[in-house]
Symmetry: C2
């Protein structure tokens, strides 16, 4: 297995409308620093040579710079403005990558991805061309179809986390497609080119901070790391 250069594209484009907070959620302080700094740290700690690109809403780039000074963040990273939808934010971020290699595309508000998950994503991408981390569905699952709902076998379903991981040149090419509302994540963009997506085990704590009470949960987990 050969090694390839690593890039992490951390997408922090959200305005956090579900958080009831004025500060975008990726900037909220949890366990001593903004969530986004914890997330950046996951990749830096995994491999300090990973090239980091952070995609932020244009209007928040200055605030982020101030936070980096205030918290003395000393992990080098590029900052790039996002687009109106996640698709365009990722596309902008990818345009900042000029080498081939492997790119982790990760949600800025998932500060609890483990080194083991990153390693599984990296190794499977080297071997098979892409990888997405998933966890099993632990609740009963129902499907709504034509106004009726029925139980489905949850063991056939997986919840998808990030980083969704790709060969740089392949995912760049996939993002050359026209935007479609069916692109719910990066894997679905690559899938639309005919690729088969490979799943690997994620880690259960790698959840997406979405609701206000998620902050307590994240704090209790990050406090232990």
């Amino acid at each position: 297995m050969h090694r390839m250069k690593k890039f992490a594209l951390i997408v922090a484009g959200g305005h956090g409308v579900r958080m009831d907070a004025e500060m975008p959620k990726q900037f909220l302080e949890v366990a001593g620093k903004p969530i986004l700094m914890h997330t950046i740290g996951c990749f830096y700690n995994y491999d300090p040579e990973t090239e980091l690109i952070v995609v932020l809403p244009g209007l928040q780039i200055k605030t982020w710079g101030n936070l980096c000074s205030r918290y003395s963040l000393n992990i080098a990273h590029k900052v790039c403005p996002g687009g109106e939808k996640r698709f365009f934010s990722v596309k902008n971020g990818l345009s900042e990558i000029n080498d081939d290699g492997i790119v982790f595309i990760h949600d800025g508000v998932r500060p609890l991805v483990s080194a083991e998950t990153l390693d599984r994503c990296y190794n499977t991408t080297i071997q098979k061309g892409n990888a997405i981390p998933v966890v099993p569905v632990t609740e009963s699952l129902r499907k709504m179809e034509a106004g009726k709902n029925y139980a489905v076998d949850r063991s056939h379903y997986f919840l998808v986390q990030t980083p969704q991981t790709f060969i740089v040149n392949e995912i760049k090419k996939a993002y050359g497609q026209e935007y479609s509302p069916y692109f719910t994540d990066d894997a679905s963009v690559l899938e639309a080119t005919g690729a088969t997506i490979n799943i690997v085990d994620g880690n259960r704590e790698n959840f997406k901070i979405t609701y206000p009470h998620d902050l307590n949960f994240a704090a209790s987990l990050l406090g232990k790391v």
Copy 2:
């Protein structure tokens, strides 16, 4: 709309093998008392006249009695031994109910069900015969079929919580069926008799305590209640 007598069948049959704890998880203390006492309190606070039946593994009934003394629990409830699988635990619990009415069948380790969720379940059961609380899927979802996986539209799916809520005589009759491994929850048991299941909004915090880190999450939420 007429009123009907309320029963809550709280199923706490689990041994907590995923919790790395010697004490079964429903007995672990969170925010000042065992999880199961918080759960019982949800129903008592919603309507103190609700008749409560708690299903416990036979070997834990004595421990539970000691906990009730130690914590001075003064909410009257019947205790009934569980079976080898959830299906048989629920069936045993239902056999303790001798009147008709409405029964909430609830997981003992969901101590955060809201009064609003209970009310939606009750009202919809009065009107339509049954109700289950659901929440939307917030992560991307993939399905595995014939060795391939593909993205599915998560907006067609729901995660199912409890209490699953029924007319006593109807769910008793449904539990007269022979056990099937396809019975993943109470709704699927009723559904097998030909009934249509009604969904109502659950509340996001009403999650099932399953993994060790869920305890921190639950503590932070229960601490605020």
